[in-house]
């Protein structure tokens, strides 16, 4: 039975565009392993250390600015690490190295897609965002517009993206922890939920940022160590490593060139659009730009983040090849020695974990397992904080209280929202245990690219954009993206069990049509908008434009 599951997971991973890799490790239905006390010990050390930071952060997180954005006191370098920590999920690490392990070169194609969103963020979004915003990206999108409708749209866009991303992370956490620590699924989900609530409610953005920074440093160090050990094994000659991998891997020389991942050009471009522009619409990533003091620091932070993330993807590629040569033929890591590579214990997502054992022994295995868990914690904390901010800052303080909310009340609402979101995330994580959640991250990226990003970009760059146009276009993009994902092969066929080829839209990701729908919707409904509000929207552009370009009047770093 377990072999069948492994084979199914394998077939699924290699057949589908594996969007799960974006954030949610689809570890499949993993088997619970013997309790690993080394890994648990290291994880407990990480938790105690980060709780100490949370305690320190809680003492200074009294104002709303401290809670949402660490008072703008994070440096460009620190924020670059934190962004990398937010973006390099357990799935990037385990999923992409697993994809390289299974198919070789295709894993690299996937990594590139996740990296190229960053230049776009740098040129289009980072600086205006910092100059115009205060706590959430809705501050920017609604700068000159009617507050209520845009805030509601942005909050929905945020919460939907956060919800799907969170479910994928929670299910991934549960499956991983079963394998890594030998703990039951539900324990793992509850532990993640409780810790994330503690970090965010007590430590706000200061604690979340430090959890992400520490995790980024641990993950980069661990991955560097593994890559160096693998390369050292081959006298630091990539050629020797690749030659050995080609000899061992059942696909032989095919792992050195593009395989089936990009076979349909339209589907490939559509997925590329979602990855590239989705990055520029992820609320938890956008929120990080408010934690630095000015536009210059915002720009520097993307530069560092792109460097760390690019370096990390090169490492995962080496790790994937390292697993081919050091794990795939070693019976210790296989469930069936007659089927090397495919019968890897726990599925291909475990390739990097087994490699840790192969190059560094049990202690290093414990370290990497603890890092994988810490990675999930850092990502879910950032997600929850951005979801809670959308509720407290956009919905409660701006929509319900007309921007006149008492600061202490606003913070209280965001802490309550964090607790509620945490409980919902745990409940959904448990409810979706047996479900295939691979499509959820794809949906999150599609919605970010088709609702959040078009509204943000058009409000920043196009004077003629009006409240009505942005709201209608944004909702159209959201609806089109959701529709496109439901009727895609990965949901209609793989999740709902309809026959192969019956999906209405044969695209791995809807961005190629849902993004244009959003942009055209915003454009047409803005042009048709002759209301008094539309006039006020256009009149407000000049002030917004001057501030977004120069930073005059921007919310500065608050006094500490």
């Amino acid at each position: 039975m377990s072999r069948l599951k492994t084979l199914l997971t394998t077939a699924f991973l290699s057949a589908l565009p594996t969007l799960a890799l974006a954030a949610g490790p689809d570890a499949g239905q993993t088997q619970q392993q013997a309790t690993n006390w080394t890994a648990i010990g290291m994880f407990v050390a990480f938790v105690l250390f980060t709780l100490g930071i949370t305690y320190w952060a809680a003492k200074q997180s009294r104002s709303a600015a401290q809670f949402y954005t660490a008072g703008g006191g994070i440096t460009g370098f620190q924020n670059g690490l934190a962004i990398a920590g937010d973006y390099m999920s357990a799935a990037s690490f385990l999923g992409i190295s697993g994809l390289v392990y299974m198919s070789g070169y295709d894993g690299l194609i996937y990594s590139v897609g996740f990296l190229v969103g960053w230049p776009i963020v740098t040129f289009m979004i980072a600086e205006p965002l910092r100059n115009l915003g205060k706590f959430t990206f809705a501050d920017v999108a609604s700068f000159r517009f009617g507050q209520t409708p845009i805030r509601v749209l942005a909050a929905i866009g945020t919460l939907v993206v956060v919800a799907f991303y969170l479910i994928a992370q929670m299910v991934g956490a549960g499956q991983l922890i079963k394998v890594l620590f030998g703990l039951p699924y539900n324990y793992a989900v509850v532990v993640v939920g409780v810790l994330m609530i503690v970090y965010v409610t007590f430590g706000g953005m200061v604690a979340t940022t430090w959890v992400q920074i520490i995790k980024a440093v641990l993950l980069l160090s661990g991955a560097t160590f593994m890559s160096v050990m693998v390369l050292a094994h081959y006298g630091f000659s990539p050629e020797a490593l690749f030659a050995e991998a080609v000899k061992i891997h059942p696909k032989h020389e095919a792992i050195m060139s593009p395989g089936g991942l990009v076979s349909n050009p339209i589907s490939a471009v559509s997925l590329g659009l979602a990855l590239m522009f989705g990055t520029a619409g992820l609320p938890h990533i956008l929120m990080r730009f408010f934690t630095v003091k000015d536009a210059q620091a915002a720009r520097k932070s993307v530069f560092y983040a792109t460097g760390f993330i690019g370096y990390f993807y090169i490492l995962t590629f080496i790790i994937g090849f390292g697993a081919i040569v050091l794990v795939s033929a070693n019976p210790d890591y296989l469930t069936d020695a007659t089927k090397p590579l495919l019968s890897i214990r726990g599925g291909s997502n475990m390739a990097a974990i087994h490699l840790a054992d192969a190059v560094g022994g049990e202690a290093f295995l414990g370290f990497i397992s603890a890092v994988a868990f810490a990675t999930i914690l850092a990502v879910v904390s950032g997600l929850t904080l951005s979801g809670a901010s959308a509720i407290s800052h956009d919905i409660y303080a701006t929509v319900m209280k007309g921007g006149k909310a008492n600061e202490a009340d606003e913070i209280r609402v965001s802490k309550m929202s964090t607790v509620v979101l945490g409980i919902i995330a745990v409940a959904l994580g448990i409810a979706f245990e047996k479900q295939n959640v691979a499509f959820m991250v794809g949906l999150a990226f599609a919605i970010a690219a088709s609702a959040n990003f078009p509204v943000l970009l058009m409000s920043l760059k196009w004077k003629g954009c009006t409240t009505r146009g942005a709201v209608i276009g944004g909702f159209l993009g959201l609806a089109a993206a959701t529709f496109g994902v439901i009727f895609s092969p990965s949901v209609w066929e793989a999740v709902m069990g309809n026959p192969k080829g019956s999906a209405l839209i044969q695209l791995s990701n809807p961005a190629i049509f849902s993004m244009p729908i959003a942009f055209i919707g915003i454009w047409i409904f803005s042009l048709l908008d002759g209301s008094a509000r539309a006039q006020a929207d256009k009149d407000g552009y000049e002030d917004q434009y001057i501030r977004s370009e120069t930073g005059i009047g921007a919310a500065g770093a608050s006094a500490h």
């Binding site: 194609i109 990539p238 690749f242 030659a243 076979s263 460097g307 690019g310 370009e549």
Partner: protein, 101 residues
């Protein structure tokens, strides 16, 4: 911000210079990124064999250095923008802000 400040900034020729040089650099680098990435993807989609071409006597294929270069160039493109922005845009912005006070 009051509209008086907006008018004053708008009247400053340095503002026009800042916006036009920044937009043109941003646009060029955005196009470079799009060409780099979609060029890579479409190359794979339409001619998957090309990147599988062997270079050297061993197993090394053209795809390996190409993939590595795409990753490194993405970072370099961001670096070009940041370097240029740190050197001249921040200076101009600072002058505009000073002159508007």
């Amino acid at each position: 911000m009051s509209s008086d400040i907006a008018k004053k900034v708008r009247a400053n020729p340095k503002f026009a210079e800042l916006v036009s040089t920044r937009n043109s650099l941003g646009m060029k680098l955005t196009i470079a990124t799009l060409v780099l990435y979609y060029g890579f993807i479409l190359l794979i989609a339409f001619d998957p064999k090309l990147l599988g071409t062997k270079i050297g006597a061993g197993v090394m294929t053209l795809g390996m250095p190409v993939g590595l270069v795409v990753i490194i160039l993405s970072f370099v493109i961001v670096g070009i923008y940041v370097k240029k922005a740190n050197a001249s845009f921040d200076q101009l912005t600072k002058q505009i802000v000073e002159e508007t006070k």
